[in-house]
Subunit: 321 residues, 2 copies
């Protein structure tokens, strides 16, 4: 939760003058989002989110993210639509930061999803994959396999201060993954960060997917693996097979997995657990003094990784044989 | 800016079931307010603020604050209206905290008010004083004159670590105020904390007064003195007479000051500067480690206090002779 950059009423008014969305009636900083600053914005024409992009987001990537959201929204996917300014551009600048105005989406993020939520999420994920297929831009996944050894090196020997022998465990696993990591799987736009706080529901239905700032071009099944990790484990660390079944069935009802994707799923789950363990580990070891954001526990993903090491077939995640 | 208490979707749904305001469509923590936790809440019936009262607000005072807002809103004043639950009560409990749902007010807080804003604020303040006259409850001002010596004692010798000879200066001033502090002035409900962040404007008009959690029964002119301090000084510490004139004229257009209030105004300005200097000083010296809220500068009010010590007549604040 954080507002990193404060926007004064004068700055906001001047910024809104470059748009055709009416005059401001109200704006309030939102205590959400660990990467960017977000304001809830109410104007004479509607409700919006004003996002200021902070330093963790590369400015050069913004045209991809904003273009993708426009593409997906125009395809009918429930995601925020970046509003173009009077020059026809979705990206501007306010209070010294790159900034965009996106449409406000109703819906609430569910902390403890049921199997029904997982089924709906699976369907929404597959719809995202299909809707992104004719998007013209690409962006390599900056947090794919190749980035993991350098992240691991960044943590270094300090890893063991977080958990005994974590360094050894992780080094061995990276070595093991190297020889089995799949390539050539069906690929396209993936969200790559579809945790529960990035999915809005109204009742049992998905009303919106948000936060596309890790979106990239990668294997569709890797996105599903990220979601299995994020949605189908219980607080006690156990994998909920009913939720896995629901999610995979929800996905396949929209987009059928190919046999090579089914085969790769256990490895992809291990890899995505590795990716989140490593970024959390580096964040955990580098909390700046006075930080507003509590770092997330890397060991949650160390335990998930251990679970996946013992999975032999996607059936164990709930795939219908 | 802070969300001190997180509310899960399950807790929120259960809480909303005790109200008749529809089902939740969206809720987001707001990065505003240093005393309480606030959520923007959108339901099928409208927009609201959900406030969770944190430890700095005495629970026993909540019926006064909420009753006052209901009274003022019913009188047509632009302030949030606490919504009663199905039992007819404006106060409930969620996530372990006392909580209320109040109506959402449009408008933006102006950081750098113009004389026109000051005039509008003066009028709104007088309207508040008149509208509160037949409110049935009273609450003594917990931060009136009697509270200042104990606050000063709390800071003690540490005061001088903030500014050279601040302790001596403050002790002398408290002594001086004691013999001249007025009593028997026209009194009633005052807001007592009407800083710019608690006043919303749409264009040049006041669209709402918020944050009544320091409201109490005290002299009307003391409330005006608080506003002169909060609104009519420039960033460089100078008093802007044009703004003072506008505010006092705006106030008097609605409620004429009595001669004893005019006479007391310089002392009341000194006293209200003392009150904010002291509370800021104590906060400044007691910032908890990892605090999310940056303390406000007590010396801003030390300088204002010094200005007021040289004022002989309310004309110097802009009162029409």
């Amino acid at each position: 939760m954080a507002v990193y950059t404060e926007v004064t009423d004068e700055e906001l008014s001047a910024f809104l003058d470059t748009y055709d969305i009416g005059t401001v009636l109200s704006y309030k900083g939102i205590a959400e989002g660990v990467e960017n600053t977000n304001y809830f914005l109410h104007t004479t024409q509607g409700s919006y989110i004003l996002t200021l992009y902070e330093k963790r987001v590369r400015e050069a990537d913004l045209p991809f993210f904003l273009g993708l959201m426009q593409h997906l929204a125009n395809k009918g996917l429930n995601c925020p639509l970046p509003v173009s300014n009077r020059k026809g551009e979705p990206l501007g600048r306010v209070a010294g930061r790159p900034a965009a105005i996106i449409t406000f989406l109703d819906g609430i993020a569910i902390r403890r999803p049921t199997a029904q939520h997982c089924a709906a999420l699976g369907g929404a994920l597959a719809n995202l994959h299909l809707a992104g297929q004719d998007f013209g831009m690409t962006r390599p996944n900056a947090l794919s396999f190749d980035s993991w050894p350098p992240l691991f090196a960044q943590a270094g020997a300090q890893a063991d201060t977080v958990s005994a022998r974590l360094a050894e465990r992780t080094g061995r696993e990276l070595e093991a993954l190297k020889s089995v990591w799949p390539s050539g799987l069906p690929s396209g736009v993936i969200h790559a960060d579809l945790f529960t706080d990035n999915v809005f529901f109204i009742g049992p239905k998905v009303s919106g997917l948000i936060d596309f700032y890790f979106a990239c071009t990668d294997a569709f099944a890797y996105d599903l693996a990220i979601c299995l990790n994020a949605w189908c484990f219980e607080a006690d660390g156990s994998f909920n097979l009913t939720k896995g079944q629901a999610m995979i069935a929800g996905y396949q009802a929209v987009r059928r997995l190919k046999s090579e994707e089914v085969e790769a799923l256990p490895i992809l789950c291990r890899g995505s657990a590795m990716r989140f363990m490593l970024t959390r580990l580096v964040d955990w070891l580098n909390v700046p003094p006075g930080a507003l954001v509590k770092p997330k526990d890397p060991l949650e993903y160390d335990r998930k990784l251990n679970f996946h090491r013992h999975v032999r077939h996607a059936r164990e995640y709930g795939l219908d044989a």
